[in-house]
Amino acid sequence: MYPSPILTLTLGVLITGVAAAELRNLAASTWAYLVHSLFLAGTFAAFAIVTDSPQLYWWVLAAVLTKVIFIPLLLRWYIIRHPATELRPTLGLRLSLVILSLLLIVFFKLVHTHMNFIAPTEAASLEPARSNLAVAFTVFAMGLYVLVTRRDAVKNVIGLCLLENGAHLSLVVLAPTLPGTLFIGLVTNVTLFVWVLIYVTSGIYQLLGSPDTFRLSELRR
């Protein structure tokens, strides 16, 4: 592993991702996510420069607009109306940090090693794409981890966003020729999705008095 701007950026993506996942203050978590998204956009930009593909600039633009501006705005819109502290997640902070770190390391290592199995293409097996793709999968796994372990609806949204970010990051590696407009569509879709989720979460809060997703089963009654 050798230092390169891209890897540095992706490291940033990882660290801020962990912060967004683990911070108990939702506002702080949102800020962390903002930074995370910025790193992501930076990664896109770096790839644009490295691979010299102009359409990736559209990606950067779209990522900045949606992930850095709109989604944090939406989250903020929610947070200022509701309690700012996350509901207690299923795992304690320390334990969660340990587990998450282990998960990230193991996952990164696993994916990095067996890249041929996941993306049997020429480009994906080479650095920095290889590490980058591993990071993308790690972020994806992180999102899943957040989704599974967190009770708070906003945290789930953030987890979902992380998951999406992972996916989008992998797109850069696997399908850099994807038209910019299509990517704009994808991220806009995610934005809409988040908007809907926030709306629903707000409704859940009104109904149940808490954003606890574990209590969603009560809605069936």
Binding site: H114, F117, L147, V148, N156, T213, F214, R215, E218, L219
Partner: protein, 677 residues
Amino acid sequence: MAVIDLLIGALILLVVGAAVTALLAKRRAMCGYVAFLFVAVASVWVGVAAFHVLSTGSPIAGAPVLTIAPLNSSLVFTVDGLSAVFLLITSLIAVCTTLFSVRYMLVDERYSLVRYYPILLLFFASVISVVSVRNMLFFLVFWEFMTLASYVLVVFETDNADARRAGLQYFIATHIATGGILLATILLYTNAPVKSFEFEALLESTRALMATSPALIHLILALFVIGFATKAGILPFGFWLPNAHPVAPSPFSAVLSGCMVKIGVYGVLVVFTSLTPLSHFTTVWGVWIAVLGTVSIFVASLTALQQTDSKRLLAFSTIGQMGYIWLALGVGLALLRISPAVAVVALMAGLFHLVNHACFKSLLFLNAGAALYRTGTRDMDKAGGLMRIMPVTAVTAIIAALAISGIPGLNGFASKWLIFESGIVGGFEIPLLVFLVVVAIFISAVTLAYYMKFLGMVFVGKLHIGQEVERREVPVSMLVPQVLMAIPCVAFGVLPMLALKYLYVAANGILPAGYSPAFASLFGSSPLAVNLSLSGLRSGAWGPVAILVAFVGCLVLGYLISRMGAAQTREVPMWLCGEEHDFSEVRYPVHSFLLTFNRYFAKLYPPIPVPRLPRPTAILKLLDIDRWLYYPGLRWGERIIRVISATHAGFPQLYVLWMIVGAALAVIVLFSMGGGP
């Protein structure tokens, strides 16, 4: 205009009349008169057409009205001699009963007339149609429509539980009988060389089957005979009749007994003359028909003797008299191959009795109806001596009762006499027939006995009615039909040759050409006397004119003798051994009359037990597939589903977990399948 168009016109008129009367049903009296108008015109037309056929002797046929191609059948109205006889009696009865109904049906305002006149008119239309088609398919259609219409009229008084029960019994019994006829018809049709329901085609079918499968022919003929016997009220198949006839409105009882049951006879005649070639089958089934007829004569008449309900008595009497007709037909059919002369006379005797019975039985039902109209009861114990207030009704009733009991000089005697003559002479060939005739003659006396009872209890004797009964004759519109129907009773009695001349045409028409001996050689040439020559020799004689002249002479002689002493008349009270009783206390009850004799035959006509349908619940459980197959299956499915549904707690984290687990599994599987690095 062809003569047949009169018949078709009459049918159209009746159908139109049905519609018109249906619209007028709210205005009861007017509805009746309008119905009468339609029926009268239609009857005259039909009567003219029928009489035309009888006088010319040649059948008339119209053009096809309707064709059903898949079954090679077309509806053609045809009138031959036999149909003409039935058409004539139908017209007479139709006119008389409809006129009688006008006032009779005014009484009970609970029931809407929309169920009476329109149906009655359709009924007449169907009867006319039944006897004027020569296609078994349409015969059956009209036949069953006739049943349908008559059912509606039988249950006219729907509040009456007896009527309901009788109607149910009637329709089910006759419908099943029709099912048998249908089956027999189709069996013939399927074996026909030319697939058609025309009588001619079915005749060929019978001819072909006779050679190949006689058992099947016997089956078919049995179905036909039983089917038509059911309709004709022949016991044991006509058990519905004594229940159904009394409960119908009296004018329609008259139609039932006078007209509808006769169509069963028409059916049998058609089967054995138009659908079956002359063969030993005719002989065998002729004997069976005669036996059935005799059974009916015996059982029904002896049961009639026990009745206390006037209309029920008349209904049993109908069965008995139908038995006479069947006996005659049976004799005729049995001897058709052996002795044409006797057979022709027997068939004519049957037809003659049929015509006569149509006249006097309808008349009797009208008489009973008139009594019912006036007194409100059919129980002979509750009303009696009506001759005092209803002389015309009573006199016509006496004429009818004496005619049906076979008092010489009236028409019933003439036909019975012919039946006995032909039966006895036929007995020279088939001895069994003589015994049947002996039974018939014995029962002739029984008939006399129960009509004595009927007359004695209802009409003659001391007046015995409730206070509320109006003491006057029924309205004129009810008297005219009675008088009209009494006329043929007397006319055919005095001049039987008048009827025989036309019946010969009818009987001749249904027999193979040139088969029957000449009219004069059978009945002699004198129009005033029947000089019967059955086996070549002169075998019997009935000269009503001469004998009636002698009878009147003797009456005058007797009158002169009785006036010899110039006796004076004086009114005295009834002699009750010197004691004084109110008449109603000492009135002899109907039940006691002939009680000793009736004891011998009390069990002859047991009441038919109403079948109690068993309800085998065990089989029901077996058939409840839900219970032992589907619901248990469903419960098992539910159990499995419950297990699966436990994995769906309702919050998203769990689903994500499942997804992860699933993805991991998939990866592991893919990995282990060798696709891995």
